[in-house]
Chain length 211, copies 4
DNA sequence: ATTTAAGCGAGACGGTACGTCATGTCTTGTG
DNA sequence: CACAAGACATGACGTACCGTCTCGCTTAAAT
């Protein structure tokens, strides 16, 4: 077999009205071999986060993410095949780390928790969390993840109410998850209704009252 | 210019009620003069309700509504210019009428309310309400309407807690909206997390405990 | 049914980095009702013709046609669902009208025909015809159409050879399509091999010789 | 950054030999040092030939070739940088060896040649040759190669017509390439139009007639 | 014997085009 | 003038290939 037909030559495309403009071919990212490029991942998650922050989850378009991240759509879909997956990945990066205090007073502990969460949610995080709630309506994966978040947060807050029960601040026969779930539910509702600014100390006091 | 070369190869459409239903071509609705035709409105809202029930709110397409209702898209957009507006109109027609009992016991009253609402939500209504919550994330009109619903329900439930306060079942200095809002928030959270089946009597008992 | 939910309001999109630039919304074509818009058809066929003339059939992209014609892709696909269909429609518009002379000399008649066709093919028409030949390899519709073209041209040219046979210029028992098909085949081969410039009078003379 | 949220929902691929064939994962080919591996070359050309035979040249994808040949895309592009180059290499391997007989009768010689070529083309070779004609429309290298093939075949067939002229079977002053080119052109046209089955003896007889 | 250099399978990457779908606007013809 | 019908420009969808790239490896030739 000879090499008669081996001729290396690339067709040069003349700059063209019809073919989509390839823009300037400057500092584009490249493959780093047969494995995921962390720079690409970061660029995509950053882009998605920016867009969600700007327009909410309803305005999150996969194309727009790829465009802003200067990534190919195939790359985007390779790692995050649905909008929900992308949304969750973004949220994961900025998931707030909540601290749960132990002041010896249930009222103080719950109030601190509530105020901390409200503070966090007044920034971008609230917008993201609302987006996840909205997406959960249609994406079962997001639904599951949302419930998982809820369970985690509930469990953490239960440590507070359990301490209170051990101290005798709330009835010994009451499930400590009850008051924790009530508080978290209240905060979800306030977030959804854009009512984070309204006062909650009355509610917290009610929850902290022994009986 | 003749059409010699126009030959259309149409792909076979998957049998889907909305996608291409010619149905019976008789009895088409017509204009009834220079005013809105109630038959048209009913047909559209029915169609929308059916589609939401079948595929959820994420599957609600204006085109599909028009097609199923045998209505023109222009007609549809004339009266319900956004998906949210249509959604709200549909919900308006099937909004549950809640009854608030007066048994003389706060625990019983709240439990009845909660169980009634849970029962309602386990049918289509819950799906619709979740859809509205999701849509509220991106449509300010829906957000407003959702808050309005919440306020209405809250006010109605407050009648219950106010009676309890008057009876002395809860502290006299406590805002009666507090326990009402807590209960409603709990139910929202349960709806969102698909946890309507879990028990709530412990929570209600806590809310009904006086001091 | 009240009109509580009827609120006409369009969301104004802020000019945006992510959403594809909508360009200037100047003199865009519009629908003219529930029927095909001839302006649109013309714009699309013009655009396709230009692109083929510039880059050949291999460079014909449906997207590029839509872009240049300022037409939607859906519109394009509605009327010309394949590249081949579009190609044929374009060719139809510029199909050369051949004239077949009757000089009393077979040689002269064939030579005129050949030179006329060569002249036509040296312009865009040859490029188009080559494109159709190429497309026929993969698109059965184009294959059929190409054969049909061939048959038409053959039939027309047969009138010339039939006259010659009646005159006794070629054997009475010879099928008149034979020499016609030979000449056309020769010209096809010359077109495909970019050899239209090479002389053909020797070939024509051979075909015109009685026997 | 963990991968908690990376969950890939892969669609079920339609069973297609090229699309995702892991096949036996053993005995992978390797480099044999700083030179081209003949096994690789064979595997690639075989794969390409199979695919063309199955789906035609329009269905020839570089990716599919690499996949089926279990070769890296870089390897493929290193040696055959364009589809046309690959196509030509494949054709080179199965290029029919034509025999040109000398029966002493021009009619018999031409008829044998024509029938031999038709027989060859009715197998895969015709498909390949049509593919090359199609590809020539857009790839100048293929155009050149095609013309070269044509010239070779023409020259070989000219030996036949030249003998006939020497015998006095055709006019002494006629270029022997003329009848050879006519016959080849006819066969090309028949191939392109899928008309290889139609009879050609009338045409050949005309070409064999002396004066 | 060790270094160097290239071939090789693998597959991620930035892209472009595909063909389909829904959007919201429009213009018709009918009643 | 409301209405059905549906064409239209727009743009996102998710998929498929393109041609380039880097990786980690294998082997043979050069040192």
């Amino acid at each position: 077999m000879n090499d008669t037909f081996r001729f290396v030559k690339r067709k040069i495309m003349s700059a063209d009205t019809d073919t989509q403009a390839p823009a300037e071919p400057n500092d584009t990212r490249h493959s780093i071999g047969a494995r995921k490029n962390p720079e690409t991942e970061a660029a995509i998650l950053d882009a998605a986060a920016e867009i969600i922050a700007e327009k909410g989850i309803g305005g999150l378009r996969m194309e727009a993410v790829a465009r802003r991240a200067k990534a190919g759509k195939a790359t985007l879909y390779r790692w995050w095949p649905t909008r929900g997956a992308l949304l969750l990945a973004v949220y994961q990066r900025k998931k707030p780390h909540m601290t749960y205090r132990d002041t010896g007073s249930l009222y103080q502990d719950l109030l601190h928790f509530a105020n901390d969460l409200i503070t966090v949610w007044k920034g971008d995080n609230g917008l993201f969390f609302k987006a996840i709630i909205a997406e959960a309506e249609s994406d079962p994966d997001v639904t599951d993840k949302l419930r998982e978040y809820h369970a985690e947060r509930l469990e953490a807050l239960c440590a507070v109410t359990r301490r209170a029960r051990d101290r005798g601040d709330i009835p010994a026969d009451e499930d400590p998850t009850i008051r924790a779930e009530m508080l978290i539910s209240l905060l979800w509702q306030r977030l959804i209704n854009n009512r984070l600014d309204e006062k909650i100390d009355g509610h917290v006091r009610m929850l902290a009252n022994s009986d």
